[in-house]
Subunit: 201 residues, 2 copies
């Protein structure tokens, strides 16, 4: 075996635990998932989990921040330079849909999670802010969108999305809420942004 075999093995187990945790959290919900569940899903002993992560909360925080990194990268990739508000929101919908199950659990359990986890979640959701700001300024500049404050657009958008995600079983039982309602929401938000035309331009 290579000299690093042992370290590699440990690292592998660690990744396995992180991945299994993500899946269990997505499936059963964050607060309903126990350390036993995660260990079993990973195929390791219960105690092994604590060899890699001092506490359950620590594991959870790492799962979330890893998730945040993935989302951040994805967002960067999807939001091409020079896009308008519609393109940014569309990209956001696509990403949320791709990771919908975990995203929804995050929204549901979010407010009850430990502070560092909550901060990470806030950060993830603010990832869109930077791009949205640029796109909005651009659209307003070329008068394809009426002037609105970014923070209001952002908060109504995130809030609405979270609401649909948290109640996905009511809005789209057994399906993706984003797939069933995303386009409608996007169109509605864009119609809210249509510039007021002057009475006698």
């Amino acid at each position: 075996m290579a000299a690093s075999s042992r370290k590699e093995q440990k690292e592998h187990t660690r990744e396995l635990l992180l991945e299994s945790a993500l899946q269990e959290f997505s499936r059963k919900g964050i607060s309903a998932t126990t350390t036993v569940d995660i260990a079993r899903a990973a195929g390791v002993a219960h105690g092994t989990l604590f060899l890699h992560f001092p506490t359950r909360d620590d594991l959870l925080v790492r799962v979330i921040s890893d998730f945040g990194l993935r989302i951040g990268r994805e967002f960067k990739r999807l939001s091409r330079e020079g896009g308008g508000v519609r393109e940014i929101l569309r990209a956001h919908l696509d990403i949320v849909q791709e990771y919908e199950s975990f995203y929804a659990q995050l929204v549901i359990a979010g407010p009850l999670l430990p502070v560092d986890a909550r901060n990470d979640i806030f950060l993830i959701q603010s990832g869109i802010a930077y791009y949205l700001k640029k796109a909005l300024a651009r659209d307003i500049g070329e008068k394809s969108v009426r002037p609105v404050p970014v923070h209001l657009l952002l908060n109504t958008w995130i809030g609405t999305l979270n609401y649909y995600l948290a109640n996905r079983d009511k809005f789209a039982p057994g399906q993706s809420v984003i797939a069933t309602h995303g386009q409608e929401l996007l169109d509605y938000f864009m119609s809210n942004l249509e510039p007021f035309r002057k009475e006698r331009e």
Copy 2:
């Protein structure tokens, strides 16, 4: 003593428990409040709680549905006939603000609660739907508001409000989010509803 003294006493204790539960839930959060907390707040023995309510969930559901009734009555009182969308949303803000602490806890814990509790919450939030529908039809009729589907207005409004409530510690630390952000939100939503004026009317 009147012949009903014993029954009256029991009823009184029951009310006391319901009231104490409401306060504890508002203060500590729903999932963080234990049956011991509630009994102590009511000044009765732990066991007494279970004499009146078979399970903690049962007590919780009753607290929520009582709350729903109060909200419903309040809403009926505040939303006078013939009001427009702005008046309805304003009334909604006023009510939410009055009961903000419990309302926020409901929004935070809501998605994790037992089904019957979740249904009650949905019902409470839908209480506004009936009035909003009428008001919107009226406003659209007299062209003071552009035509939009009720459900989209409703869901974006509720979703946004919930988002602000769930994160009130970030939006308005130590204060009422509705007091600090309510008017701004209301104005923004109304501006979204402004009719598009024809190019050359």
